[in-house]
Amino acid sequence: MAGYFLRRFLLIIPTFIGITLLVFAITRVVPGGPIERMMTQAQLGGETGGLQRSQGGGTLSEEQMAELEKYYGFDKPILTGYALWLKKVLQLDLGLSTRYQDPVWQIIRERFPVSIFYGVTTLILTYLVCIPLGLLKGMYHGGRFDGASSAVVFLGYALPSYVIGIALISLFAGYYDWFPLGGFVSDDFSELSPWQKTKDIFHHAALPLIAYLAGSFAVTTLMMKNALMDNLSTDYMRTAAAKGLGLGQSVRRHALRNSLIPVATSFGSNISLLISGSFLIETIFNIDGIGLLGYEAIIERDYPIVMGILVISSLLYLIGNILSDICVALVDPRIRFGGGVH
């Protein structure tokens, strides 16, 4: 067991290198890198930006270009460039943003509280709602409750979460004015009491959280429902019935733990997805999170930021997967104690 998880942890290293090397190579191969981007910006600045830009001279000279390429390491072959990048990452240096010239780590760190808040809250709410809902739907499959809730679940599944976001914001923040139009907190946040602060955060968070939930809701609910239904027809559930247990009792004592195994397995990938957020929802609700940052960084060819976010989200993903394996092992003694007599 311990040996297995040690191996899993060691496997993070090659997987991490594989993911980052692939993306690093892509950033080198795809046309329109950050230098070209800066040139275009400079040109645009020269034409439209008025005084301050035009003084800097419209275009960059060949020398300036070469200097920039050298500065960002674009003059070296991919592998050498990657090795240099990796070496810096190991020293916890993610480099400088080509757009802002600020350290990447600092830029990402500023967005962390917002993203972690939404990620963790969505994750908790998803499991808190979807597990009981999926269980009820599975226990009373084909009944009235199952039918009615399926309508809601499938609506949430069929509509993309940004559509739900736009609908929510137009209705409850635009038309009715019950919720703020966006942002993470109010402008006067720092003057509020702790209780008011909490209220303020959730007041802002209610609509985006619903939009986030709508996205993960259907999948987790149906996963839970199907897992339970698979277990309801097992022989050991028939044994439970033959003992004299009622449906509720036998689900609680027998099917539940077995049905949680697939949900526990999906936990790892959910962690990284939720921390990295959705740029569409962040755009709609004007939330300055990591999803939006990553999206803008890709559009603007701010590769140090792209790579920085990749480092964090791939590490979360890899560690999250090991965490789910540990969860599964906790639930399932066949994994915890290995093969038995056969």
Partner: protein, 331 residues
């Protein structure tokens, strides 16, 4: 067996299966038998003939919604269980009637220790029992069913035990509620031959100690010979013959039973032999003939057999047979 009324009396039981198109058809049609206290009835028939459906309908354990009782009665000590409420059935399960299933690999919950799975029955049916006494009782039960080093095994998970040990655990679970009737649905089919013999002798001794009635289901006529007082032979959803065990082996009356006996190896040491050595196919649920269901495989079938379903006729010697021509064939 001083009690004149039987412990269990199944009367004209019909069990319907609903197919994917929502059409219900009787898979078990008009099965009747009784089990007296302390007696073992062997229910024998080819795989798929409806033995498990019959057994599961007794305690309302039929797979829903595909299967359901569509007629007849199941009387336990006079009370009709076919029409009983779910609540009533739950109080009878384990406490009055217990079941052992075919596959001990899947019948136990993989995520709970075996001790906990036995203990659960005690919690449910003896709520007054103190925790310490309950644990002691679990150990006693595990010892009773022949699990060595029970004090250690009690904390084992099912996957850590062999198939035979798991089936012993299932038997301990079945005995925990101190039932008066035990339904054993092919309890040894999934086990290899030596283990099979051990489990059979365990069941025989437990049944005798506790004076339980037993409904023992198998496809293996040689196996049932070892423990049944009476044997009912089932074919395509119906009972075709019933006799006291020795009498059945000495003078089978139904052509199907004769065929089964003829197919048995002379050496009784090989109990693993399959029933079906007869040619022809069992009619499917959708093509049940109006006449005798065995007609397409029976060497003695005539027009009467093809047109009219023979009724199960009972005799004073405890035998019953459903064949138009049995008398003529046995002269």
């Amino acid at each position: 067996m001083t009690d004149s009324s039987p412990l269990l009396s199944v009367e004209q039981l019909h069990v319907a299966i609903r197919n994917d198109h929502g059409i219900s058809r009787d898979m078990v049609s008009g099965v009747s038998f009784t089990v007296a206290a302390g007696e073992t009835l062997g229910l024998v028939g080819e795989s798929g003939c409806g033995k498990s459906l019959t057994a599961m309908s007794i305690l309302g354990l039929l797979p829903r919604p595909q299967a359901g009782i569509s007629g007849g009665q199941v009387r336990y000590r006079g009370e009709d269980l076919a029409g009983a409420s779910r609540q009533r059935l739950r109080t009878l399960r384990s406490a009055e009637i217990a079941v052992i299933f075919q596959d001990p690999m899947t019948a136990l919950n993989p995520v709970h220790t075996i001790g906990r799975q036995v203990e659960e029955v005690l919690r449910l049916h003896f709520p007054g029992l103190k925790a310490g006494d309950r644990r002691q009782r679990v150990l006693t039960l595990l010892e009773d069913v022949g699990i060595p080093a029970a004090a250690e095994r009690v904390n084992a998970y099912p996957h850590q035990l062999s198939g035979g040990m798991r089936q012993r655990v299932m038997i301990a679970i079945a005995l925990a509620g101190e039932p008066k009737l035990l339904i054993a649905d092919e309890p040894t089919t999934a086990l290899d031959v030596t283990i099979q013999a051990q489990i059979i002798s365990l069941l025989i001794s437990l049944q005798q100690q506790r004076g339980m009635g037993m409904l023992f289901i198998t496809h293996d006529l040689a196996l049932v010979a070892q423990l049944a007082d009476r044997i009912a032979v089932m074919y395509a959803g119906k009972i075709v013959e019933q006799q006291p065990a020795e009498q059945l082996f000495a003078s089978p009356r139904h052509p199907y039973t004769k065929g089964l006996l003829a197919a048995l190896p002379a050496a009784a040491e090989q109990p693993k032999t399959r029933l079906a050595a007869m040619t022809g196919q069992v009619p499917g649920i959708d093509q049940m003939p109006t006449g005798c269901r065995f007609a397409n495989r029976c060497p003695h079938a005539d027009d009467l057999c093809l047109n009219t379903d023979p009724a199960l006729e009972s005799f004073t010697d405890g035998a019953a047979v459903a064949c138009h021509h049995w008398k003529k064939l046995n002269d």
